[in-house]
Amino acid sequence: MAIEDEYIITIGLEVHCELKTNTKLFCGCANQFGSEPNTNICPVCLGLPGSLPVINERAVEYAIRIGSALSCEIRPSVFHRKNYFYPDMPKDYQVSQYDEPICVNGKLELPSFPKTVRIERAHMEEDTGKTTHVGTSGRIHGADFSLVDYNRAGIPLVEIVSAPDLSSADEAREYVSELRAILVSTKASDGKMEEGSLRVDANVSVRPLGTEKLGTRCEIKNLNSLRSLGRAINYEARRQMEALSAGQSIRQETRHWNEDQGVTSALRSKEEAYDYRYFPEPDLTPLDPDMDEVATIARALGILPPARRLRLRELLDGELTRSELEQVQTCVKFDLDEHVLDAVRTGVPARLALARGSNELASYVNQATVDSFEVAEFPRGKFIEVISLESQGKVSSTQAKTLLSRIASNHNEEVSALIEELGYKAASQDEISELLDRLISENSMEWERLCAGENQLAGFFIGKAMKITNGKVNGKTLASEMAARRLG
């Protein structure tokens, strides 16, 4: 029995999400990625002596949007100071919410695992500056010197903390992917992991199969891509399983993920853990959101990914197959659900629209990698035009895919011009008839065997036809013509 089958993995995730406000959380400095270092700074976000924070109301609104989108309870909240020394933290404390966060008790449904993950809380806090350690190690220990950019200091964050409800790296990845889709649709965040707009800490523990008590957990810090998240969890879970199997115990500790080596290593143990000495931030007053305003914000959210998936599922009758469920998820993930819905409205069969949306379009808009969340566009009208022709049998499925591919590489291509250029003018009934006559005379033996019941030979004829016409013949039309001849 493999070691993975002897243990149960438990994962809880803490996702830090930068809010896309124009200005920082406590001052008027620009919230902007990629500026020259130390240009978006002022006495407040530099924590200069005598300066004081003033809350950005828009950031509070964004936090309420996120909480509402995650079905959280929005409630009065208090900022605390989290005290610890680090050069990128200008005040040597971070203003964060502690035991009275703004959003609590939410949930998130994983689309493909049928599973509801509980969201324990989503709280507001300020980001720190960004330290670059110069030297071979790339870490503070052994660095020649370190540079600090305070542009990021004071950028508003919402930290979303899940319950330990996830049990595999795949679930964890899907959780983050779905959370990201929800965050983006609230317009409170751009969800760009590569720019650090989303950063994930994973709490991982394992316990022997058949036991109830959760094992000792380790926290892996700062996972910046879905790929790292999955790899780090798998590595860490296996490390813990091997340790337990060898009779060792797990130390509760914070661990660092090394992307190049593919391993986690200990940063500090529980005994060495900081005592953050939280206490209520006296420079800020508690937040007490007006419940009518909260309701207004929630109403203005629009349709969120779970509802968007439901909308697509309802296009199909009866129970959906696993692959249809995946098609639904893919369409929503790549913002192609409106394409599919519009196509169905114009009369295209739902299954065809869904298949083309999730297979062809999704792969075109996702030319980069699955891990990057760059969402490209695909002209909706042209998509509908192509699959309408396909559904009417005016172009074959192969032709339809070629058309979509051409449009993907150049959005300005016109469908009618492409059909002309590629010679996709649908063959007339007479042309099909002539073609079949020719095929039968050239392959009379095979035709007799087909008529005698060797149905697999139909493919042989379609193949020949494709060869003769350079793929321009509509296979479906030819197949029905053959069926008619055999009967007649």
Binding site: P43, G50, I55, P90, P282
Partner: protein
């Protein structure tokens, strides 16, 4: 009358009418500083050139017929924990030596916009932690009334500057009595306004939930005028009240319909000479027609212990930023943590270190509830007991300080020093206004102040009582060299 004896109201009036030039006013005060601040040590920095330049500007604006503001040509001394752009601000600490802030505190902007002229940065106990100004990392300030005594603290330099006639008004900060106690010991008026009435933006924080900026002056009316200038909402301070303002109402001194409570618990640790003067002040209030009775507020007895948990806890966090990384003193060590340690070791004095350690401990895991948490409960209790007392009384009174000015080194034991603030601390914990008004001479003829306490945002009635006391007193503290 000599210029240096004039008050703020009189100076502003004279400058506006052209009777005096702002330059004459500033020059008179600068020459007094030149002559006597060597003995007193009120200033860490005298801004002579800037003040003269500013005075000339005001005189020019006057001759151009421009509006000059309520404090036209009035020199003001600023406690050196309030920032003024480009002027070294140290909090009397080595750790900020040489630091020039790139921005100006809201209170200073307000003062300047009304024509006041910053004349210097005054000495204090390092980071406002102390009651004698002996904790300044640079030099102690002497009490101008008797140079072998302390001026009180932590705003000892500001109190001494007014008592010395170096400036008609000064600005201080009061976290547990740091305006009122030195005002009492130097024989001047000192006001701690309601928490939130005056912006803290630009005040280098000691204990954020307790700190409040307020004025020193030679008269109640001057203090009232200055408060009216610096009060009001500031969008840069979230704890500044959105609605509160203070309007200067000169000459309001009728207290015949007032009920005045004498806080029983604040009489127990007071020396006999102070008690004697205080009792005379009660007689004076009665003869003005007020109803004066004793009231018990038992919770104030726990004020001191609760304060010495809350204030150090906040300070331990507020002072973390002085780490040698971005500004101020840096002593480079082998690594980051050693640099932090060495910089803070060299930069902070013993009292500051003591309070950082007290506060760090009070907030530590496992101690929070028993220490900081409990102290906050005492604070709530004090607020509710004050509220009960104010249902029977308009204002409350007590001695400001249990003793007159003491000698240097007399209170080397920190606890005995902490006792100096036993009567002033409860107002900070409650966030209520309180002020000290000089009333008479105690031992060695040294000044004794009476503290008037009022409910939140009831500065107006507090000033009425202060004017009545001022009117009933013939006492006037003089600098030692003026005798």
């Amino acid at each position: 009358m000599e210029i240096i004896e004039l008050g703020a109201v009189e100076i502003a009036k004279a400058v506006k009418s052209g009777e005096l030039s702002a330059l004459e006013v500033v020059s008179a005060h600068l020459s007094e500083i030149n002559e006597h601040d060597g003995d007193v040590g009120a200033f860490l920095l005298v801004m002579a050139d800037r003040a003269i330049e500013r005075a000339k500007e005001i005189d020019k604006r006057r001759s151009g017929g421009e509006e000059l503001g309520a404090l036209a040509g009035v020199p003001v001394a600023l406690k050196d924990n309030i920032v003024l752009q480009g002027v070294e601000t140290t909090c009397a600490s080595k750790i900020l030596s040489g630091w020039e802030p790139p921005y100006t505190a809201t209170v200073i902007e307000k003062l300047i916009s009304q024509g006041a002229i910053p004349i210097g940065k005054t000495n204090l106990d390092e980071f406002a932690m102390g009651s004698s100004t002996e904790n300044s990392a640079y030099f102690p300030t002497r009490n101008p009334v008797k140079l072998d005594r302390v001026p009180g603290g932590s705003s000892g330099g500001s109190a001494a500057s007014v008592a010395s006639r170096f400036a008609p008004i000064a600005i201080g900060s009061d976290t547990g009595g740091s305006i009122r106690q030195p005002a009492s010991l130097c024989g001047v008026v000192g006001v701690k306004p309601t928490y939130g009435l005056v912006s803290r933006y630009g005040l280098i924080a000691f204990a954020s939930s307790l700190d409040q900026i307020g004025p020193f002056a030679k008269s109640v009316d001057d203090a009232s005028l200055v408060l009216s200038v610096i009060a009001g909402h500031d969008g840069m301070d979230s704890t500044s009240s959105r609605t509160a303002t203070y309007e200067h109402a000169p000459n309001e001194s009728d207290i015949s319909s007032l009920r005045i409570g004498v806080i029983q618990e604040m009489m127990s640790d007071v020396s006999n000479d102070v008690l004697g003067v205080f009792n005379q002040s009660l007689d004076a209030l009665r003869s003005c027609g007020a109803k004066v009775e004793t009231v018990s507020i038992p919770a104030v007895r726990y004020g001191l212990s609760s304060y010495y948990l809350i204030a150090p806890a906040e300070a331990s966090s507020n002072l973390a930023r002085f780490d040698g990384v971005r500004y101020g003193l840096r002593v480079t060590g082998a690594d980051m943590n050693e640099t932090y340690g060495l910089s803070r070791e060299a930069g902070f004095g013993p009292e500051v270190k003591r309070r950082i350690m007290l506060g760090t401990y009070a907030l530590s895991a496992g101690y929070y509830d028993a220490l900081y948490g409990k102290a906050q409960k005492v604070r709530t209790l004090i607020v509710s007991e004050f509220a009960r007392a104010y249902s029977d009384f308009d204002v409350l009174v007590s001695p400001t300080s249990p003793t007159v000015a003491f000698g240097f080194g007399d209170k080397s034991d920190p606890l005995s020093m902490y006792m100096s603030d036993v009567c002033t601390i409860p107002s900070n914990l409650a966030g209520h206004p309180a002020m000290s008004v000089p009333f008479g001479g105690g031992a060695d003829g040294l000044p004794v102040g009476v503290q008037i306490l009022a409910p939140a945002l009831s500065e107006r009635v507090m000033f009425q009582v202060a004017r009545a006391l001022e009117g009933a007193s013939t006492y006037m503290a003089k600098p030692q060299w003026a005798h």
